[in-house]
């Protein structure tokens, strides 16, 4: 008997309603889905699809009440390169949101230490927004953010806003300064001892290149952070987003389904193993 097979991997069309250039190779897109998607939680991701081009997992960097999803994208692969050629009014497809996000419930009444590297700040932005919105639910907020050079810092237009959040700090650093830069120079891990959070009562949320996360974990442990106080958002090749295609495994975990955010203790065993 002939039967139609409807794939669960079906995207929902969404309109690009705004684009904000961030850095030379990064833009922030505002997508308005044509049909209602589940509301993403901070740290979750969607699969952005363009017909005939492909799909790429991209973390959500902002969630608006009217269903608009904000995502910051670096042009690096086939899909993202193509996305950069699109403009307002163009349609793309979205699937998701997928994955486990940041442990927001575990942050309640805790100091929140955010450590971002480069584009890694994108999935952390919704956390900052959440802390800002419900400021009294959380302890001190410390945002440590670094990039290779000043032109690669995301959301610079919002930094003042971050600084104005009560009981918070924003520490920035760049690997290489230019003439405009008067702040810290060096890798982001150097900022960790400077962060004014109480390691005994804090949770660290980390996202950035894998190498940066390794150094960050070491630095955090040095400050007294324990494995259950550190959360990392991992990157892998999340093709299907729902744990079926197999590509995104790290150890026994599917990054798409069990992550992308993992408590450090959970992945510690694999985190330091070369090419696991």
């Amino acid at each position: 008997m002939q039967e139609i097979v409807r794939s669960k991997l079906t995207p929902t069309p969404a309109e690009i309603i705004n684009i904000i250039p961030e850095t030379p190779d990064t833009k922030t897109f505002y997508f308005k889905p044509k049909a209602k998607l589940e509301k993403p939680k901070p740290g979750q991701f969607t699969e952005i699809y363009i017909p005939g081009v492909g799909e790429a997992p991209v973390s959500v960097s902002g969630i608006e009440s009217d269903g608009v999803i904000i995502q910051t994208v670096r042009s690096i692969g086939t899909l993202t390169e193509y996305l950069f050629k699109l403009g307002r009014g163009d349609l793309i497809g979205l699937r998701g949101p997928y994955g486990k996000g940041w442990p927001m419930e575990k942050l309640k009444d805790k100091d929140v230490l955010i450590v971002g590297g480069g584009i890694g700040l994108a999935p952390l932005r919704p956390v900052i927004k959440e802390v800002e919105r419900n400021r009294r639910d959380y302890g001190r907020l410390s945002i440590l953010y670094g990039a290779r050079n000043p032109s690669l810092l995301l959301y610079r237009y919002e930094f003042d806003e971050y600084r104005k959040i009560p009981n918070s700090e924003l520490l920035l650093t760049v690997d290489r300064a230019d003439e405009t830069w008067t702040g810290n120079v060096g890798v982001v891990t150097q900022l960790i001892p400077k962060a004014s959070v109480d390691p005994r009562n804090a949770v660290a949320l980390v996202c950035g290149p894998e190498i940066m996360m390794r150094f960050t974990v070491k630095a955090l442990e040095k400050q007294g952070f324990k494995g259950n106080q550190i959360y990392l958002s991992l990157e892998r090749r999340m093709k299907c987003g729902v744990g079926l295609c197999g590509h995104c495994q790290v150890g026994p975990y599917f990054v798409c389904r069990n992550g992308p955010v993992f408590p450090y203790w959970m992945i510690k065993k694999y985190f330091w193993v070369d090419q696991i």
Partner: protein, 364 residues
């Protein structure tokens, strides 16, 4: 290993079973001799099943002999049928209409598959779960499973180690065992199976036959063993993530991913987006495997650039991770990855060596 009542018959009863299933409008897929190998294919008649043909399966080696013997796992696993190598997911038109493909799902009987392949289907059931691939789930709904227990496992078989054979214990509709050329024992495994067997009005097996059955299966189990034990295996493998065995094997491994492709439980897939000239485009799902170079590659990075790391992942996935992901091993001991490895790499040896390495270390 042993369950359910046994009934006695012979080849004519087996043939009647085939006929009975056919009369119930099942398409029958089973082992047949084609392209110089025993492989799964659609069977028009019982006579197509190459009883009397045996296969020699060794690492990287397969040959057929017409010697009145028995064949083992066919080239194809049920995956070929349930989880086709290439499948269109959907087509999207220029104006964003999504069109889904339609397929024919017929009542299908898998006739004479081996217990290891039955185990593989059960593993796939868990992997796919309710989240799973729609095509698989629809195919699965219509499946009748007739298993042939093994009394003569091949050289590459290690179902006994993996606990999937040589006899099936549950999850089938009907199982049969060819004790010798005249006596075949039948076993119902489901209500439907019992109903079908009922049509054959078989006699219960005699105590002698039951005894012979048990002896044959136990003897087969002795043969179908790998050189390692499952006990603590996941822990041992995880203790030895940096084993040099992986690097040694990568000297012989071709990275071709044949082992992934022939594995009855390997489920990984890649997605291809193909634009069409009329502005529409197609999404296609095709088999992929962790030995593929591009498998763990992302735009601007690679998580398993070296072949040894890809090889390690395949072992760890089957024997460590799978257990945590789906509650069982990802290997059923069918031996296909050993037979069809063009480099003749023997998975059993690889694992044994890694285990040895750890034991060695413990002794020191």
């Amino acid at each position: 290993m042993f369950s359910g009542p046994l009934y006695s018959g012979g080849f004519s009863e087996l043939k009647r079973l085939f006929q009975e299933i056919r009369d119930r409008n099942y398409r029958i897929v089973g082992p047949r001799l084609e392209d110089g190998v025993v492989r799964l294919g659609e069977l028009q008649s019982f006579e197509e099943i190459p009883y009397g043909v045996s296969d020699v399966q060794r690492p990287g080696y397969y040959r057929i002999r017409v010697d009145g013997g028995r064949f083992r796992t066919p080239l194809d696993s049920p995956k070929q049928l349930l989880y086709p190598p290439e499948l269109t997911i959907f087509r999207v038109t220029k104006d964003w209409k999504i069109e889904y493909p339609s397929y024919r799902f017929e009542k299908t009987a898998l006739f004479g598959i081996k217990p290891c392949d039955l185990a593989a289907i059960k593993i796939m059931d868990r992997v796919q779960g309710e989240l799973g691939d729609e095509y698989f789930l629809k195919m699965r709904e219509n499946l009748l499973l007739v298993v042939e227990n093994c009394v003569e496992p091949g050289e590459n078989c290690f179902c006994a180690t993996m606990g999937t054979g040589p006899a099936a214990s549950t999850g089938f509709d009907i199982a049969y065992t060819r004790l010798d050329n005249s006596i075949i024992l039948f076993q119902p495994g489901s209500d439907l199976g019992a109903d079908i067997l009922g049509e054959l009005s078989l006699e219960p097996a005699t105590p002698d036959q039951v005894g012979a059955f048990r002896r044959a299966i136990l003897k087969a189990a002795e043969r179908a063993k790998a050189g390692f034990r499952l006990e603590n295996l996941p822990d041992i493998l995880e203790l030895n993530l940096e084993s040099k065995v992986y690097r040694e094997i990568a000297e012989r491994c071709l990275g071709c991913a044949n082992c992934n492709m022939v594995c009855p439980t390997c489920f990984c897939f890649d997605i291809i987006d193909e634009p069409e000239l009329d502005g529409s485009s197609r999404r296609i799902r095709i088999w992929d495997g962790c030995h593929s170079y591009s498998y763990a590659q992302v735009a601007g990075g690679h998580f398993r650039k070296d072949l040894w790391a890809r090889y390690r992942h395949s072992i760890l996935h089957k024997f460590v991770y799978w257990l945590r992901q789906f509650g069982s091993f990802g290997c059923v001991g069918c031996g296909r990855c050993i037979t069809w490895c063009p480099a003749g790499i023997d998975l059993r040896e690889v694992i044994s060596k890694i285990v040895e390495e750890v034991e060695e270390r413990c002794r020191k």
